[in-house]
């Protein structure tokens, strides 16, 4: 199975619901800054609002990192509005909610479950050039963690800015000293 890291964003055009308004969105809107595409199965479900709320609570952090968040489901933008009108949780969301009823985006990212007309729970992080730098795809019932996603965004930005000559540091105070591993190349 081929992976999607480095895959470039392809042209698309969808309608979205954003802060009380209907707006068109194309691939051009996702270029020039970091973008998160946050697919979820459908509006008016139970797990989704908790994920979307979690993301909304971390949204300021994403914006501070120069990243826009786009939630995507296979509903229309009208359904997004109806959901926002019916739910205080969704009403409070200030990132764009894209409608993808024709499955254009879900197919492009390989997360459409055709027989159900729903997207898997999937997250894609795109760099300012529109290339996928990380993604995770969950089965329907498995939720995601926006705080962890924010940490990954920060890591991806760091690597984008400084190259990949770094190792992530996971400090565990008191951990044992690692068994030495001598690399003779360069010494002899």
């Amino acid at each position: 199975m081929a992976h999607m890291i480095g895959k470039e964003l392809e042209p698309f055009s969808v309608m979205g619901y954003h802060q009380g308004e209907f707006k068109p969105f194309t691939e051009k809107d996702l270029l020039g800054h970091w973008s998160v595409l946050f697919f979820y199965p459908a509006d008016f479900t139970f797990v989704c609002p908790t994920e979307l709320k979690d993301l909304a609570e971390q949204y300021a952090g994403f914006q501070a990192e120069g990243c826009e968040v786009y939630s995507v489901s296979e509903d229309t933008h009208f359904v997004h509005k109806a959901w926002a009108d019916a739910s205080d949780t969704i009403q409070a969301i200030s990132y764009p909610m894209l409608g993808d009823p024709a499955g254009v985006l879900a197919r492009q990212f390989g997360v459409l479950v055709e027989q159900e007309g729903q997207a898997l729970r999937a997250t894609f992080l795109l760099n300012p050039e529109g290339k996928i730098v990380l993604y995770e795809i969950h089965d329907m019932g498995i939720g995601r963690n926006a705080e962890e996603l924010l940490r990954k965004l920060q890591a991806a930005k760091f690597v984008h800015e400084h190259g990949d000559q770094v190792c992530p540091a996971h400090w565990h105070p008191g951990e044992e000293t690692l068994t030495p591993s001598l690399d003779l190349v360069g010494l002899l």
Partner: protein, 221 residues
Amino acid sequence: MPLQPEHYPAKSPLIAGELEGQLNQLLSKLSAPVTLVCLLDGGEKSAEMAAFVNHVAGLSPLLSCKFLSPGEDPAVDAALDASLLPATGVYTEAGFARMVFHGIPGGKEITGFAGALLNAGNAAKPLDKPTLKDIGKIKKPVDIRVCVSLACHHCAQLVMSAQRVAWENPLVTAHMIDANLYPALVKQYQIQRVPLTVLNGTQAVPGGKTMAELTTLLARL
């Protein structure tokens, strides 16, 4: 009471099997005496480092070690930076060789430690002329502190380069710091990724560097 090497185990469990053989092979190339001076406190990591240094010093007749507590020798405290213990400095007959290790150089860092011993023991591979010229372009004193994690492969190479620059240029001192042991340092420089190189206590530079990148960076200070 002054610390003595015999107060600590002569062998370290970190140096076992194939590694001991590899170190023996490397250290057989030493052609000049090298002394490892350790600044130790009463902590677990100091005891671990003492055993490690004892063990290494026992692998070559040209290696010796000396253990000190902070305050015993102000010059050593200053050279090795007694605020980050345990610390091991590399000394030759000419004195401090400007290569220091804060924390046990385990994991990938054993390579940098071995490199420092080869430097001081006049047994390192010679550098090419352009590199030596670049190192000579560093005209101001530089204190290099490479913050590492022991599992980081990018870190070890940078530490080796920094130590080599320090060995070749008397204006440069290079410290390897196992950042895991110093949470205040991690907090101060908000270290989330390694290596992070702190230059003269002010400029923090993230990421691995080739020797050429490092010398260019240092010459611009």
